[in-house]
Symmetry: C2
Subunit: 235 residues, 2 copies
């Protein structure tokens, strides 16, 4: 989140974003704005287009269209405020969700969270949250944090290992924790998860109806580096 340095909503926490340049592709603009406003220069492991928000009244200054992007990073380097931002820092999603966000940034954030939760089910996105080598428990923690629910360690372990191309074993172990050292892995070649890892939203009611009403659209995402373009009058 950045604290806005200019009107409107000067001094208010918002998602980083800005205007696309004339000869710039949309993902490039997202990366540039993120870098300019937060100093984060990492090549994100994962950057995907989220959704486009274009309600006529979304910006009081002019008609704009925002093309929202979702970035996923394995580590969170300390951001520094840049152009148009007096402050830049990481915030926990659950805190931001309780905040009043400017523009339609609440919708954008909700879409980003929903996308991330959904994509853990049927893609290998989880590996983008962890480093180049990781343990199965690291991966499980990603699922547990993003989904907000505990998973059975044993079943998760087996499911990841039997999911063709999800992870691939590398030599070595990671000790230093409390228990038995864990084997190390790197991301596999698969992008889509063969049998998807579906989350039961209803915590296993005995009758059917488990996934009947999910809160989000699976084809609809946590951080946003936005692109906005202005619509010329009369176009």
């Amino acid at each position: 989140m950045i604290r806005r340095g200019s009107e409107p909503w000067r001094g208010v926490l918002a998602l980083p974003g800005g205007f696309v340049r004339q000869d710039e592709d949309l993902p490039d603009a997202a990366r540039r704005e993120l870098r300019e406003e937060t100093g984060l220069d990492v090549q994100p492991v994962h950057l995907e287009q989220l959704q486009t928000f274009g309600a006529p009244d979304r910006d009081p200054r002019a008609r704009t269209v925002a093309v929202a992007y979702l970035a996923v990073l394995p580590t969170l380097p300390e951001p520094v405020a840049g152009t148009d931002a007096t402050e830049a820092d990481w915030r926990a999603v659950e805190d931001v969700l309780r905040t009043d966000l400017p523009f339609d940034h609440a919708d954008i954030l909700a879409a980003g969270l929903a996308r991330a939760r959904s994509k853990l089910e049927y893609t290998t996105l989880a590996t983008a949250f962890v480093g180049t080598t990781f343990t199965i428990a690291d991966l499980r923690h990603v699922y547990e944090v993003v989904w907000g629910r505990a998973l059975d360690p044993g079943n998760f372990h087996r499911k990841v290992l039997t999911s063709e191309g999800f992870v691939s074993r590398v030599p070595g172990q990671r000790a230093g924790g409390r228990g038995r050292p864990a084997a190390l892995f790197t991301p596999g070649s698969a992008v889509l998860l063969n049998p998807p890892i579906l989350r039961d939203l209803e915590p296993s009611t005995p009758d059917r109806q488990r996934r009947a009403h999910r809160d989000d659209d699976p084809a609809a995402v946590c951080a946003r580096a936005g692109n906005e373009v202005e619509v010329p009058d009369g176009a």
Copy 2:
């Protein structure tokens, strides 16, 4: 598809689309452009944002950003050419895929097709393809045509009926076909499919690896009513 009435690519088949107006929301613009260029005035049963295409060189005239939409209609009224279109007609997707499309319309079409195929798996989108009352076989034909593969009638029947809120029975039957009359249904209240109806892309190889490489991004959509906005210089 419409035949373009103005440059560039005058006389070439393309997806309908045009520029968003100053005080118009994006879905409204999609509906308006579809109506203006093809005469289709139906309120589509289903209209969803597909993806935004903004490569700097996508339009030789100026920098534009296209917000693509996917519409699904149960019936296909005869379209008539309108503004900027000398011809408007329905084409089979497989034919259009073999055509050279202008701009980045091939990418847009591919995204639309992928979205529709994917959404049949985990949503009740199929009901948007059929009328207000339909038979299970109607629904099965949607899956078979969009997925391009035959499904077992018996298993499909059971799967639809046991999928909570997918369809709901209405009185009456539809005879007139060759065999036993079929019961009639209307769309149920569910939007998401409880146990999803997953397609096996590999036609059931004995070994694992069934859904390992899918051709499309499940979170990515067949017709497009596009929105384009121009980027002012120096924004």
